[in-house]
Each structure stands twice: as C-alpha cells, then as structure tokens.
C-alpha cells in the first residue's frame, strides 16, 4: 500500500509538467503559422515596398484602398454575394434539416448523399458549375442563353454584362455570373449547414413539438414560435460561419468566373489576390487583409459569445 502511494506521489510530479509538454508543440506551430503572420500583416499594412526596401507610410495604404472605385465596387459585390449565399443556404438548409428531423426512413442515406458536394474542393465545385453554364457548349447553356426565356439576351456567364444598378452604384440586380457564383457556393455549403441545423433540431425534445401539435398549432406556427427560437443560437452560428467562409473563399471565383466578366464578380477576397499578386501592391493588400481580418475577428468573437466557450472549456 505504502509503496503504491509513494509511486503515485512520484508520478504526480511528472504529471504536473506532462500537460505542458503535450500542448507545447501545438502552441509553437500556432504561434508560427497563425499569430506571427497576423502581427506581420498588421506591420506590412503600414509599409510600402520601394526598390530600397520597406518604408513606413502610416495609414496611406488604407487611404489609397478606400479611395479606389474598385474597392467600393468589390464591397458591393461581396455584400450582394453574401446576402444571396446566406439567404439561400440558410433557408434551404433549415428546410432540409426539418424534413430529416421527422424520423424519415433512410434519413442517414439521404444525409450521406447530400454531403457529397461538401467533399468537393471549392475550386473543383466551381469547375463543375462552369461545365454546366459555359457559353454555347455548357449543358444548360441552351436554356440559359435563350433570349425568349431570359430577355433581353439570355444569361451568359462570360459576356452578359451587369444590369444597370437600381440604387447609385450598388451592383444590384446581380449579373448572371454573380448568380451562378452564389448558386455554386450555396450548393457546396448546404450540406454542412444542414448538418449543423439538424444536430440542433435533434436537441429539441419531440414532446414539445407533439404537445403543441395536439393543441392544434400548424407546422408553420410551430416552426415560428417553438423551433426557430430554440435553435436561434445555432442559426446565428451558421450565419456567422457562412459569412466567414463566403467572405474569405476565393477558389470558386478563380475557377468559375475569374472575377469577371469585367469586374462583375470581383469580390473582396479576389481583390486581395489581385492587389497582392497581379498588381504587386503588398502594403495595400496587407491593409485590405487587416480590414477583412477585423471583420473575421468580430464574427469569431460573436460566435464564441453565443456558444459560451467558458462553459465548454470546463
């Protein structure tokens, strides 16, 4: 007995440092790849590259970005994209999750098949949609390019220009290319959002729904007054994760539209790429990255507040 007790005491001393050694490698990797680059980006955003090296320019980079028309246009495209993408994905995801939550026969089978688009890379998903809507030869181009169905000139991804905006320069209504981009992005994000909402719906005790149904409440009323309020936190988490993914995703823009036609799908993430790698304005690109990062951090902070991390870290 005493021997065993001694052994435990000895172990507890090594145990004391064990968690430190277990966690240290993770912390080091995250400091190198996540924390340091974030700080570096903030520093770069106040610098300008000259032949002699980096020179500090204060907030000039921010001013220069904010004063370009293309930045304002990119903000508009991003807003249009995000609104379309979020509304389509959230409403369809909620609808499908509600169906699957009804103890449907084969619901596991449906969920598995539904998840296949999620496993495709965003770049590849963009190509898949491009094959459908490519002008002249895309399988759907016969329907989409029909001027009788879609006046005045059909919906061509490459040539149809943007309809004239309704309010000022805000790019609404969106161009055909933007509509395809929204559809492709929503298609790929739908499975994940459906799963998220389904997991949340399954936490609602079925007695609650049953008893209100017995009381004569319609499906719509149950959804509006019971289901949606109960899963509201998850809906907001889904909303934030969609905005995060949609604002920062760029692979699909590369393969589906390349930002075009013209600048019709020139969203902020693509703007960052062109600033940095085609126009080689690294300081300005860093300033834009910092602005996007601040929005990201706000969304992440909001998500963490809703999911109440402090309770889960216990």
């Amino acid at each position: 007995m005493i021997q065993a007790w001694r052994r435990r005491k000895k172990q507890s001393r090594t145990d004391k440092w064990l968690p430190f050694w277990l966690i240290l490698p993770t912390i080091i990797v995250l400091l190198i790849v996540q924390v340091y680059p974030a700080i570096y980006t903030a520093w770069l955003s106040t610098q300008d590259r000259t032949p002699e090296g980096w020179v500090p320019v204060g907030l000039d980079n921010f001013q220069r970005i904010l004063n370009t028309g293309l930045f304002r246009e990119a903000v508009g495209h991003t807003v249009v994209f995000l609104v379309g993408y979020v509304v389509i994905t959230l409403s369809l995801g909620f609808f499908i999750a509600s169906l699957l939550n009804r103890k449907v026969l084969l619901s596991g089978f449906y969920l598995t098949l539904l998840f296949i688009p999620w496993i495709l890379a965003d770049l590849l998903a963009g190509i898949v949609f491009r094959l459908l809507v490519a002008p002249d030869y895309g399988v759907l181009s016969g329907i989409l390019g029909d001027p009788n169905l879609f006046p005045p000139k059909g919906l061509s991804i490459l040539t149809a220009s943007r309809p004239s905006p309704w309010i000022g320069e805000f790019p609404f209504p969106p161009s055909p290319a933007m509509i395809y981009l929204i559809m492709a992005a929503a298609w790929r994000a739908l499975p994940f959002i459906t799963l998220l909402l389904l997991a949340s719906l399954q936490t609602i005790p079925s007695e609650v729904i049953e008893s209100s149904r017995i009381d004569g409440a319609s499906s719509w009323k149950i959804a509006r007054h019971i289901t949606i309020p109960l899963i509201l936190p998850t809906l907001v988490v889904a909303l934030f994760s969609l905005i995060l993914g949609g604002m920062n995703g760029v692979g699909m823009v590369f393969s589906l539209t390349g930002g075009g036609p013209g600048t019709n799908t020139h969203v902020l993430s693509y703007h960052l790429y062109t600033l940095g790698w085609t126009r080689l304005r690294f300081g300005q690109a860093a300033a834009l990255a910092l602005m996007i990062a601040v929005v990201n951090w706000l969304l992440i902070g909001g998500t963490m507040r809703i999911t109440r991390v402090d309770e889960r870290t216990s």
Partner: protein
C-alpha cells in the same frame, strides 16, 4: 381531432417527405452526374450547338440507348498512359497524375500525420488536466479555428520570400506542410478534446493504480479507445489538404512542387474548350475523396458534429 389522425395520413405525410427529399437529392446531385456524363462524351458531342444532355441521339430518334457514343477520350487525355516496362505495363504521363497528385499525396499524408499527432497530444492534455491558463488557451485555439487562410496568406508569402533569401536551408515542401499544419490543427485540437472527453477516466485510473505511468496509460489504455476519433481527424485533414488551393498556389515558388488543385487550375486554362477532358480530370481528382468519405462517412459526420456543434 389531430390526436385521432388516421395512420394512413401519417403514411401519406411520410411519403410526401420522402418524395421531397428525393427531388432535393436529384437537384443537388445533378451537377455531379452531369459532370460524369460529360466526362464520357467524345469531342464531337461536347461542342455541339445546342448542347445535348446524352450523346445518344440519332438522326431519326432523340434518344436511342443503342446509339450512345460513350468515349473515354477525356480520361485518356488526362492520364496519357504510355506503354512502359513497369509492373503495370504502362505509366501515366499526364502532368496532373505524374506530378501534382504525388505532390499532394505527400503534403496531405504528412500534414494529416502531424495534425493527428499534435491534436492527439494536446487534445489529451486539455481533456485530462487542469492547469493555469487552460481555459484561456482553449478559447484562443477556438478563436484561431475560425481564422481563414486568406488574411494570413500575404504575411506567409512574405515570410517565404525572406526565408528563401536567408542563409537558413529553406524547403518549399516543408514550408507548405508547416502552414497546412497550422491551419488544420486548431479545429482538430477541439475535435480530439471532444473525443477524449467521452472516454471514461476510470480506465486510466485503474491502469495508474496498477502501476502504469501516465504515458503508459495513455499509450495502452486511452489511445486504443481514441483511435476512431484520431482516424476521423486524419481523414478530415487529408481531405482538407487535398482540396486546398490558395496556399499551394501562392506559397510554393516552383510549379513542379505545387499540389493537385493548382494542377487542376492550370489544366483548366490549357483545356478550356475541351469540356470532356476537364470533366474527366475533375472526376479523377474528386473520386478518391468521395470514396474515402462514403467509406468513412460515420467518422466524418461525427467529427463534423463534434467540431461544428461544439466548436
């Protein structure tokens, strides 16, 4: 009233739900099915105006199953098999499969191993021990989970530029793997912690009382129980790296070291009018991941729920 609803109405309701689900599935899977169909067309059938869905029409008939002109030309042009003396009797000379797929296999395997190891260690540490700063560290890791690659890619690119000029030995492949490690690790730490939380502590304590060391208990008792969770992390990371485009495209300087998504992007611009070739490349690159997902769907979905609902 509603209480006395006849069972037949319930059956009708269930039929309706299933019917709607099938319609949704058809719409959701249509782009994939169409891509597979396109990949088996021959060149003449992909450049017809107006486009036809199936290459099965004859002069007299709109659709005749016997007249279908299926072709594997697209696949041949992607893989470009040439006879050779190896084990298989041929080798693939298409750049996509000669160069980019092996690159990605290396990156994905190395990253998945690294992420699984590190996430397993720190997930266990966070799950089993209470120490000062633990809550703060966990919250910080969760916050980093949400940070997308896009905003850091610029600084990482600059770090690469500086390191290449420095006297330190610098390797593009190692650099890319470390970047992937840092981006796919945070979510996996949370998933691993979640899995370890579900393994009862009694098992380890029994082993400790029997005289095993803490590390011994970890290796012989906890790890076997955690294997399914760690396997899920491995697969999820593997798929994530396989599908990643931006970092592989921008952080690696030489084209021949870039991963498969860059290869596909490059391929797209080179074959822009040969839809059947592009479709075949997409099918060949997506198929392994779809198969992995279908085989291991349970572990994927559990990892997703673990990571998504909690983190």
């Amino acid at each position: 009233m509603a209480k006395l609803r006849s069972p037949s109405r319930k059956t009708w309701g269930s039929l309706l739900v299933n019917g709607i689900m099938i319609v949704i599935l058809v719409v959701v899977l249509a782009p994939i099915v169409l891509t597979v169909i396109i990949s088996f067309k021959d060149q003449q059938d992909t450049i017809r105006k107006p486009p036809v869905l199936f290459p099965c029409d004859t002069e007299t008939d709109g659709f005749d199953l016997d007249a279908c002109r299926w072709a594997v030309e697209g696949y041949e042009r992607v893989l470009a098999p040439k006879p050779s003396e190896g084990l298989l009797g041929f080798k693939l000379t298409g750049k996509l499969f000669r160069l980019y797929v092996p690159n990605t296999l290396l990156y994905a395997t190395a990253t998945a191993f690294g992420v699984t190891l590190l996430a397993g260690m720190s997930g266990f540490g966070f799950s089993r021990y209470r120490f000062p700063g633990r809550g703060l560290l966990l919250a910080a890791i969760l916050a980093i989970t949400g940070v997308p690659l896009l905003t850091n890619i610029l600084a990482l690119y600059q770090m690469g530029v500086v390191l290449r000029k420095s006297p330190f030995p610098f390797n593009d492949r190692v650099f890319l793997i470390v970047v992937y490690l840092g981006f796919f690790l945070p979510l996996s730490v949370w998933i691993a912690k979640g899995f370890f939380d579900t393994i009862p502590r009694d098992l380890e304590e029994a082993a400790l009382i029997d005289g095993a060391s803490a590390l011994g208990a970890l290796r012989h008792v906890t790890m076997p129980a955690a294997m399914p969770g760690l396997a899920a992390i491995f697969l999820l990371t593997f798929v994530n790296v396989w599908n990643e485009f931006l970092a592989g495209y921008l952080l690696v300087s030489k084209n021949e070291l870039k991963p498969v998504m860059f290869g596909l992007y490059d391929f797209l611009s080179a074959n822009i009018i040969n839809l059947q070739v592009i479709a075949a490349a997409c099918v060949l690159i997506a198929l392994p991941m779809v198969v992995v997902f279908l085989v291991a769907r349970k572990s994927f979905l559990s990892a997703m729920v673990e990571g998504a609902v909690k983190g």
